[in-house]
Point group: C2
DNA sequence: CAAAAAACAGAATATTATTCTTAAAATACC
DNA sequence: GGTATTTTAAGAATAATATTCTGTTTTTTG
C-alpha cells in the first residue's frame, strides 16, 4: 500500500537520475540535458528538496584514503520489544555505524559499519556496542572485497 | 599494510567531511568554513577529485517516492573459484543491486538490493539472478524498517 | 642553504544561480 | 464545455559564484 502519493512526472524522475549520477552538475547543464530553461529546472530541484524527495547531497569518499579499509556487517539480537527502537537509535548514533536496519528473522538488526581494521572493530564492539545493555548477541560478517558499493537507487 | 600512502592533511579531511555533509555547498561557503581563499579550496577539491579520494557526488533520494520501498540483503553462494569474480560482476550489473560484497564465511557474496516489493523481488531472483549459472544458493534477509542509512564515512 | 614545487591569496573575468515578471499549460470547478 | 485558478515554464535582469591568472608565501627536496 502506497504511503506517499506518487505524483512525480517523467521530468522529475529524470532530474533525480541525473542528480544521483552527479550531484554537482550545474543547473545550466541540467537544464541543457532536459531541454528546459534553467529557471524551470531550478524550481523543480527546489521542490524536490523541499518536499523531501531529495534528502541531501553527499560526496562519495574512497574509504582507503581515510583509513577505513574494513567494512563489516553485524547481526545484532536485542531484548528490545518490537515497539521499542531504543537500541537501534543508540547504534545509529555511533559514528562508524553507517546503516541500521530492523530485519525479519532471528536477529533483530543488521548493521553496516566501517572501521580501519580489526583493532577498531574490537574497540567498537567492546567500548560502544557493549554499552548498549539490551544487546544479547552479535554476529559479524567480514567483507573481503567490495565489487560494487553504490547509494544509487535504480529509477524505472 | 597500507595500500595507499596517506598524505591527506587536516584541511583535506575537513573538506571531505564538509562535502560528505553537503556535496552542493558553494566553494565560497566551503572557503568560509575553512577560513581560506576560495581559489585555494577550489584547487584542493580539484586535487581530491583528480586523485580519486572523492569518487563523485550523489543526490540522496528518498526511496519511498520512487517506488522502491523494499530493501533486502541477499546472501549468495556460488561455484566461483576464489580468483574468479565473474558472478559478482554479473550481479553488480543488475540495476536494482546497489552493493556486492565478497564476504568471509559459508556464503560468497552479500548483496544489497532495492525493489518495489515482493513481486519485483521474485522477478529479480527468477529473471536476473537465476540467469547467473554459477549461483548455487540464495538466502534473503528482508528489511522491515531502516533506522539509519547513510553513505557517510566517519572521518577521524 | 638554495632551488624547486606546492599551496595560498587576491584580482579580474567568465559563468552560473537566483529573482522577478510574464506567458503558457494544466487543473479544478460549475 | 467554458471559465477561473493554479501550476509550470521561459526569458530577462541582477546577484553570486566559479574559474583563471598572477604573484607571494610556505613547504619540500637535494
Amino acid at each position: 500500500m502506497r504511503v506517499k502519493e506518487i505524483n512525480l512526472d517523467e521530468t522529475d524522475l529524470a532530474i533525480l537520475r541525473l542528480l544521483q549520477e552527479d550531484a554537482r552538475i550545474t543547473n545550466v547543464a541540467l537544464a541543457g540535458q532536459l531541454k528546459m530553461a534553467p529557471s524551470a529546472t531550478l524550481e523543480r530541484v527546489r521542490k524536490l528538496e523541499e518536499k523531501g524527495m531529495i534528502k541531501g547531497y553527499s560526496a562519495i569518499v574512497d574509504p582507503l584514503w581515510i583509513d577505513k579499509d574494513l567494512l563489516v556487517f553485524i547481526f545484532i539480537k536485542t531484548k528490545d520489544s518490537f515497539a521499542d527502537d531504543k537500541s537501534a537509535r543508540l547504534l545509529a548514533a555511533i559514528p562508524q555505524v553507517m546503516e541500521v536496519h530492523h530485519i525479519a528473522g532471528d536477529d533483530c538488526y543488521l548493521i553496516k559499519a566501517r572501521v580501519s581494521g580489526p583493532t577498531e572493530l574490537m574497540e567498537l564492539k567492546r567500548s560502544r556496542f557493549s554499552k548498549i545493555s539490551n544487546i544479547i548477541s552479535m554476529r559479524t560478517t567480514i567483507v573481503l572485497e567490495t565489487v560494487k558499493e553504490s547509494s544509487h537507487i535504480s529509477i524505472d
